[in-house]
């Protein structure tokens, strides 16, 4: 399916990520910068000491260059780490802004869906039942001729509307948090693939469960990608892979469609990329015009 070296490099990166997340370096950055500084100063002192004894050293004076070069190297890494953390803070600020925008947009969409969908539907149901109640009351009082067909029509229409509202609420609830996700990402993706209009081949290898937030993001990415395949690519079949190596969850969707997918501002893929970046994940896209397309989402195991 994919080249073995690709696999190897991915898992090497996964191990590196795991190491970074678990390491003391990551948890106690100040302590480690302190240790580096101490080493650097020690090296400088050593170099200077060697230089002070330049007469005794004679031809071996160049030895003093070793600790001094070491000190330069150490200070350089400290500087690099510092730069790295500045970059990291900028990235976090950006991704936090995405999270806030994303959740505000999601809430607005949910409110709109409720307002236009189930709420309107239920208002119509109460109207019909209100009218039916009034009519039956008037029929009982003899103020109106008994017309059961008319009442039946109203009640049947209300019944139909209530059922539609239930369906809409269920779809909406599933859009917020698919209950099947509680059973694990593997089962949720199997359900997703089964619901797809296209035949989807599944490759699932999830020996351990990623954290809940990661599973949710992975699920919605897979759902969006499969929807895109169905709607835009004209593909006849698709493959959905979910592989969990230590520290890294990879979800990949392949299709045999027309290709040409792009990340455009405001588009669905850009939205996915934003959501993925909030947990330090990555969206990879290979979709030449004429196809086939391959979209890869890589997420850390924990968020």
């Amino acid at each position: 399916m994919y080249a073995p070296n690709n696999n190897a490099s991915s898992s090497a990166r996964a191990i590196l990520m795991e190491f970074l997340v678990r390491s003391w370096e990551y948890r106690r950055p100040r302590l480690w910068i302190g240790v580096r500084f101490a080493c650097g100063i020690f090296n400088v002192a050593l170099g200077l000491l060697l230089l002070a004894f330049v007469h005794q050293l004679g031809q071996l004076t160049w030895l003093a260059a070793i600790p001094l070069a070491g000190a330069v190297l150490i200070f350089w890494t400290v500087y690099q780490l510092q730069q790295d953390s500045v970059r990291r803070v900028q990235e976090l600020e950006q991704s936090r802004a995405h999270v806030v925008d994303d959740s505000a947009a999601r809430l607005r969409r949910i409110e709109r869906d409720l307002h236009d969908g189930a709420q309107a539907q239920l208002v119509a149901v109460t109207m019909k039942l209100g009218l039916a109640t009034k009519k039956v009351g008037r029929m009982i009082d003899g103020a109106e001729p008994v017309d059961l067909d008319r009442v039946m029509d109203l009640v049947a229409a209300a019944h139909h509307g209530a059922k539609e509202a239930v369906t809409e609420l269920r779809d909406l609830a599933r859009g917020i948090h698919p209950p099947v996700l509680d059973q694990g990402l593997g089962i949720a993706l199997t359900t997703l693939a089964a619901r797809s209009e296209l035949p989807v081949e599944l490759v699932i290898d999830l020996p351990e469960r990623p954290s809940a937030a990661i599973e949710t993001i992975a699920y919605f990415c897979a759902a969006e990608l499969l929807t895109n395949v169905t709607k835009h690519s004209g593909a006849r079949r698709a493959t959905l892979e979910a592989v969990h190596a230590p520290g890294l969850l990879r979800v990949r969707v392949n299709d045999d469609g027309c290709g040409g997918a792009r990340v455009e501002a405001g588009g669905g893929l850009a939205g996915l990329a934003d959501r993925i970046s909030t947990v330090d994940g990555r969206l990879g896209l290979r979709s030449p015009a004429g196809g086939p397309s391959e979209i890869t989402v890589e997420l850390p195991s924990r968020a």
Partner: protein, 220 residues
Amino acid sequence: MRIVIADDSAVVRVGLIEILADSGHEVVAAVGTADDLIAAVDEHRPDAAVVDVRMPPGYTDEGLRAAIAIRRDHPGTGVLVFSQYIETRYAADLLGAASGGGAAGVGYLLKDRVAEVDDFVEALSRVAAGGTALDPEVVTQLLSASRASRNDGIATLTAREHEVLALMAEGRSNAAIAGILVVSERSVEKHVGNIFAKLSLAPSDADHRRVLAVLRYLES
């Protein structure tokens, strides 16, 4: 009555047409946007318009702004705004627009109230006849808001007078208020008189004073 309906939801429009037709009223136009609403009112000059607050394209308060414009341009058309949520601010805007013309002819109801078909149709008739119809929910919110504020006149009202004023704000007549509170019409009149006195509304046109009392209440 001849009525224009504006709601972006087709199921709600159909439901309203059914209810109003059943009560013997004629729906002359049912539209889905604020622009169409204004065009329909210009064309048909209806007795009343039933207007949803949120409509395309912005889905914010297009309906409310259209309602205010209709009250300004067509004094003969009562406007009943109905919505899935209550904004006290909207009620104040609406009544403010109405008082400019001297008469009320506005209403603001939660969509849920449509379930009580007769009450809804009665409220619409009241609005068409130049009265007011405010949702009890609006009144409750205004009541708690006015308790929190420092308006002297409102603050001196007794609990019973508050209740009477709240029902007045909903647009009820003295007889209706007496029925709801299970007291005699005579004692309702006494309460209303006390309210007018406490809000310093000089005895003149009694109906107009009711509107002024409600406005005082809204502004507090």
